[in-house]
Amino acid sequence: MHGITFDIAHLLAGSLVVMSFVQLYQDRLSALINVFAAHALVLALSVAWQAFVQEAPHLYITAVIALVFKAIVIPVALRRIIVRLGIHREIETVVGVGPAMLLGIGLVALSMVVMLRVTADADPLAREDLAFALSVVLLGLLMMVTRRNAVSQVIGFMSLENGLVLAATGAKGMPLVVEISVAFSVLIAFIVIGIFLFRIRERFDTVDMQAMDRFRGEKR
């Protein structure tokens, strides 16, 4: 587990963090969906590489799910939704790009400090993977809290989940990884169908969560 195999794994996991950063400053929904597709593609490559390195063929299933479902099906579905809802040109910024990036850097630093310190005895690949995965998870959370639009929140959640898959595949020999990634895909499919079927726009005239807040049960 040294030399080139380690470097490639490291590169792919690092790219995932970079893609999370790229997501943070996208202010147009269609661009955000493109970046998410790239995010999922990097994840698929990373998982496939882990499957190869760990000689764990079942991980290829997870890689294929990431590729087909998250890099192709979901982005296509989301694009159709935003076109149908007429929000594909909308620009949204809640927290400015500068503060969001600074917060993001802070979160990555935090996850490095936490994970590298506590996993001192683990093998180096798993260690780095966990640190990167936690960064991706935290960046996904950051995206969910800084965005108001339901579609961007879902993308934030999906990138968070990509971080979890990275962590699960990095944990060598972890059972049920495939099952868990399937369970997550079901969850995401539900969310996307939910946006579409519930036709949040139709009910609330907007997919802006700030507008939805007006309907809270207490304020009548």
Binding site: V137, M144, L164, L176, F198, I200, F215
Partner: protein, 479 residues
């Protein structure tokens, strides 16, 4: 796998869900739903008679037996309440007949998921089960398709998913901690194996894992400040689901948390999970107590009361030790029974009045004496007045803490008293005074409500020795 009681508590709900999804009509399916819930309960009780063998995926021990029996019992009584409640909802056209089939199938899927989470011997399987339970309740909360219901479902969905995601990260970290000791593969995720090797795990990893698990499953328990989904989900969904959420699903998430707490407690170097739980419990209790005062929606108010009580329960388990754990278990049981009884009453009251707003109800003890006094009794119980069961368990929590951390008792009692004031202030508006709103007759099933209240009343006066010994064993197990 041979048919034993263990697979029974999973198979009965799973098969009934398929059956109910296929059958049309409301009367038949509602009855089948009750029957299936009863069979599951009977099977769960039989776990006490013949204990099935635990395998790598499923497990039965003293701890989860208590949870399973409580879960299946409240599911059974709630299904009986649900039959009359849903009948009325169809009559007034609030629930479309097409959704009834879906509702009953989902009810059984939820039972299946909760039972699976309780009997899972594998931390990954448990996580998947809790995810299924979350998804089904999200669908049920949004079943009325009003914009409030959809917003509540969406909020619950997003916050619940984040909680679940954090819990998964914690689960992965537990596996990472276990792998060097137990070796790769399935065994490093099996409770029974994890417990025997926990002392040798890397403590730093365990600590970080527990923080994630506490935040993740804590969201599902409804601990402040992660509770934001809970009041909306309780208020906007059908009342039987509010009863199941408060009475059972919060417990299931708590059960997951307790299992991980046991794991950490076995490692001498890892951080003590107690103080974290004590802090979150106290914050939830005091915060929710204050929130009771200004609620305008009766179901939201009782949702906050659930947060308060989950706070007390988590506090008790956080304190640990045989007595506090015993008190926590008793309080959890009493809270489940009382809170679901209250929701049974509230459900029928809201149907009579055609609203959930507290201002539009009033004088219930005059217009609907049985419902009104039932609610009064329920609130008296939940507020913790003697001689009812919750008084007993709260008294035990307070007295067991008093000798160890007197300062914490002051905060806890402060929270309980604030909540008592809030509950009675609101109860006064609803139950007494001038009658407000429609006073038509009510078609209610009182049996589930009074059955629960009778048990709570009994428990306040006399606890059967068998129950006490059982709870004591579990309390010892929890450490």
């Amino acid at each position: 796998m041979t048919m034993d009681a263990l697979s029974g508590v999973l198979l009965i709900p799973a098969l009934s869900a398929c059956l109910l999804a296929a059958l049309p009509g409301y009367r038949l399916t509602a009855r089948l739903n009750v029957l299936a819930a009863f069979l599951t309960f009977a099977t769960a009780v039989s776990l006490f008679v013949v204990e099935p063998k635990s395998g790598p995926y499923l497990l039965v021990d003293d701890l989860n037996k208590v949870f399973i029996v409580l879960t299946t019992f409240v599911s059974f009584t709630t299904s009986a309440f649900s039959a009359s409640y849903i009948g009325h909802e169809i009559e007034i056209g609030r629930l479309k007949p097409g959704y009834v089939r879906f509702y009953h199938a989902m009810y059984q899927v939820l039972m299946f998921a909760m039972n699976l989470a309780l009997v899972a011997n594998n931390i990954g399987l448990m996580w998947v089960a809790i995810e299924i339970a979350t998804l089904t309740t999200v669908l049920m909360v949004g079943i009325y398709r009003t914009h409030e219901a959809l917003e509540a479902a969406w909020k619950y969905f997003i916050l619940g998913s984040v909680g679940i995601a954090l819990a998964l990260f914690g689960t992965i970290l537990i596996y990472m901690a276990a792998r060097p000791v137990i070796g790769e593969g399935l065994n490093a995720m099996v409770w029974t194996v994890l417990v025997t090797h926990a002392a040798a795990f890397d403590p730093a990893l365990l600590n970080v894992a527990f923080v994630f698990l506490l935040l993740g499953y804590g969201t599902k328990v409804g601990l402040a400040p992660l509770h934001a989904w809970l009041p909306d989900a309780h208020a906007e969904g059908p009342t039987p689901i509010s009863a199941v959420l408060s009475g059972l699903l919060l417990n299931v998430a708590l059960y997951a948390l307790l299992r991980f707490k046991m794991l950490l407690a076995l490692n001498p170097v890892a951080l003590a999970p107690g103080p974290l739980m004590v802090a979150m419990g106290l914050i939830s209790c005091v915060f929710a107590a204050f929130m009771l005062y200004r609620r305008r929606d009766i179901k939201r108010m009782f949702a906050y009361s659930s947060i308060e009580h989950m706070g007390i329960i988590v506090f008790a388990f956080g304190m640990g030790g045989p007595l506090a754990n015993f008190a926590g278990l008793l309080h959890m049981t009493m809270h489940s029974l009382t809170k679901s009884a209250i929701f049974f009453a509230v459900g029928h009251i809201a149907q009579v009045k055609g609203t959930q707003k507290i201002a539009d109800m009033g004088g219930l003890t005059v217009t609907h004496p049985v419902l009104g006094w039932g609610l009064v009794l329920g609130v008296v119980a939940i507020a913790g007045l003697p001689p009812l069961g919750i008084f007993m368990s709260e008294f035990l929590v307070v007295s067991s803490t008093f000798s160890r951390q007197p300062w914490l008792v002051i905060i806890l009692v402060f929270g309980i008293l604030i909540a008592l004031g809030g509950l009675f202030m609101q109860l006064n508006k609803v139950a007494f005074g001038e009658p407000v709103g429609p006073t038509g007759p009510v078609e209610a099933s009182y049996v589930p409500m009074f059955a629960h209240l009778a048990i709570v009343f009994m428990a306040g006066i006399y606890l059967p020795p068998a129950l006490v010994t059982g709870f004591q064993n579990v309390a010892k197990l929890l450490g």
